[in-house]
């Protein structure tokens, strides 16, 4: 079993600061850390390197987990806590009523068709809060903080769960919403921003980037489960430069 060196520690310290990085950044960071502390590195060495870190992190109930972004399909690495099966990992940074509103936002997103919640709907949900009421300005300020802290993403007034949120909270989401949560038919992970087969007896879901990859180049896209015509617009496949070699 490999021991930890300063290169592992520097990598981990960076992860603690930024919480999430994409695959390309991770590779560069791995290289930089190894070069700084004079450790040998290889082109395929990132995952074993992270494995070594994870073995030492496990007793601390922390892990560096890999996951896909629903926005661009790229792989990301996130530093997560593995103890909580609740969102209380956020309790050191947010008040109880703020956490309640975050839960409500998550309810809206999970229950939605496109994996989004509008700022209007989120503001309206403050009416049914059981903890201390939040004013409109407070709600808006909270949403800004949640985006800053990388729990939510915002685009044109619509909020989605960030990649970091999905990677870290997947176990919580599966537990809390066992019937509602959508699963991607292609990659088998939880899916929010996805397309759904319109065949009422089928109804499988596929992540937008998974759709792009699966149906790339196909003239007549067919549902992989029921073979019905796939009616949705196929998004353009955005692979990373390193992926084009495959």
């Amino acid at each position: 079993m490999t021991q930890l060196g300063d290169s592992h520690r520097r990598f981990l310290q960076t992860m603690m600061g930024v919480r999430i990085i994409d695959e390309l950044e991770a590779k560069k960071l791995y290289q930089h850390c190894c070069e700084t502390y004079k450790m040998h590195w290889t082109a395929d060495g990132l995952d074993p390197f992270i494995e070594t870190i994870n073995l030492k992190l496990q007793p601390m109930f922390m892990q560096v987990k890999k996951g896909m972004s629903e926005e661009n399909g790229h792989q990301y690495y996130a530093l997560v806590n593995t103890t909580e099966t609740d969102i209380t990992r956020m309790s050191s940074d947010y008040a109880d009523n703020e956490l309640e509103l975050f839960r409500k936002t998550m309810d809206l997103i999970v229950g939605s068709e496109r994996g989004t919640a509008s700022s209007t709907d989120i503001l309206n949900s403050t009416d049914t809060m059981t903890s201390k009421r939040m004013k409109k300005s407070e709600t808006e300020h909270l949403l800004t903080r949640l985006v800053q802290d990388k729990w939510l993403c915002e685009k044109r007034g619509e909020y989605t769960l960030s990649t970091r949120c999905i990677i870290e909270m997947e176990p919580y989401i599966r537990t809390m919403y066992p019937d509602q949560v959508k699963m991607c038919h292609i990659c088998h992970n939880v899916a929010f921003q996805c397309q759904i087969c319109e065949n009422p007896t089928c109804g499988i879901k596929i992540h937008n980037p998974c759709v792009a990859r699966y149906f790339k180049g196909r003239m007549e896209p067919q549902c992989p489960a029921c073979n019905d015509f796939w009616p949705h617009e196929i998004p353009e496949f955005r692979g990373l430069p390193s992926q084009s070699k495959k």
Partner: protein, 272 residues
């Protein structure tokens, strides 16, 4: 059996929210805890360890590590009283062992050093134990804009011999268009940041000058600054500012390069 059950309830989900509420409001309660807690002897610790399973000790160590990391993100020091509060009964006896294991974990896994900055109040902070890389990496932790403000304040104090009247700080900041009297776009209440936030984080000390009427205060470096900030780097920065060789300030140069502990020259708070 009942005791065991109570202990197992103290999982992170409860602890995190309990601690969060605690640390903001019940300072006097903590002081009571502190007063009644006596450091157990080595033999007491040994006996305490025999009563608990390896898994239980590991779990408690993990909780302490997580708590420290969480507090450290905000640069707030951790007092022994806070830790003692969530180590009940059997765990209290092995408190020194838990701290020892946590310290070892910080060093071996995270490259951080657990330092007791106040032996009387038993206050701890985490300091970076790694050598700062010569070049910046591809991914840098986003620097807090207040770091710049702190750096200026520390520089003024250092150049003036280590302690200054607060008015000098406000005067200097005003010249840099950071007016403590007005709400600043980036820093907000500047006076509060300097005399409260930086003091709580142990970067500065805000001391009342005795026998002054009206009350006057002076400011000096705090223990975290002593550990984290390189005086050599400050002098280098001042040198660049005035376009002079750092050596032209002989007294400060001697202090910056003479009395530091090995490795301190390469450590700087902004690198984390």
């Amino acid at each position: 059996m009942a005791q065991r059950k109570r202990l197992s309830q103290h999982n992170n989900t409860q602890t995190a929210s309990q601690l969060k509420r605690r640390s903001s409001s019940s300072l006097t309660q903590d002081e009571d805890e502190e007063a009644t807690f006596t450091q157990p002897s080595t033999s007491q610790v040994q006996r305490g360890l025999e009563k608990l399973s390896q898994a239980q000790v590991d779990q408690k160590t993990a909780e302490v590590v997580q708590y420290f990391l969480m507090k450290d993100q905000k640069k707030v020091p951790v007092r022994r009283a806070e830790l003692v509060k969530y180590m009940v009964k059997d765990y209290r006896t092995i408190y020194p062992e838990i701290i020892k294991r946590a310290a070892r974990t910080f060093e071996q896994v995270f490259g951080l050093k657990l330092v007791e900055i106040d032996p009387k109040q038993h206050m701890y902070i985490l300091v970076n134990n790694l050598e700062t890389p010569a070049r910046a990496g591809p991914v840098e932790c986003p620097t807090n804009p207040k770091t710049g403000l702190l750096f200026v304040v520390l520089s003024v104090i250092f150049m003036k011999g280590g302690i200054v009247k607060e008015n000098l700080i406000w005067h200097t900041l005003k010249k840099l268009r950071v007016d403590p009297g007005q709400k600043h776009e980036e820093f907000g209440d500047v006076k509060k940041v300097v005399t409260d936030e930086f003091v709580r984080q142990k970067y500065l000390e805000y001391l009342r000058i005795p026998h002054t009427e009206p009350v006057e205060y002076e400011i000096r470096w705090g223990p975290r600054a002593d550990l984290e900030v390189s005086k050599a780097k400050i002098l280098e920065f001042i040198g660049q500012l005035h376009e002079q060789d750092p050596r032209s300030w002989t007294q400060q140069y001697r202090e910056a390069h003479g009395t530091q502990t090995p490795g301190q020259a390469s450590r700087s708070s902004s690198q984390r």
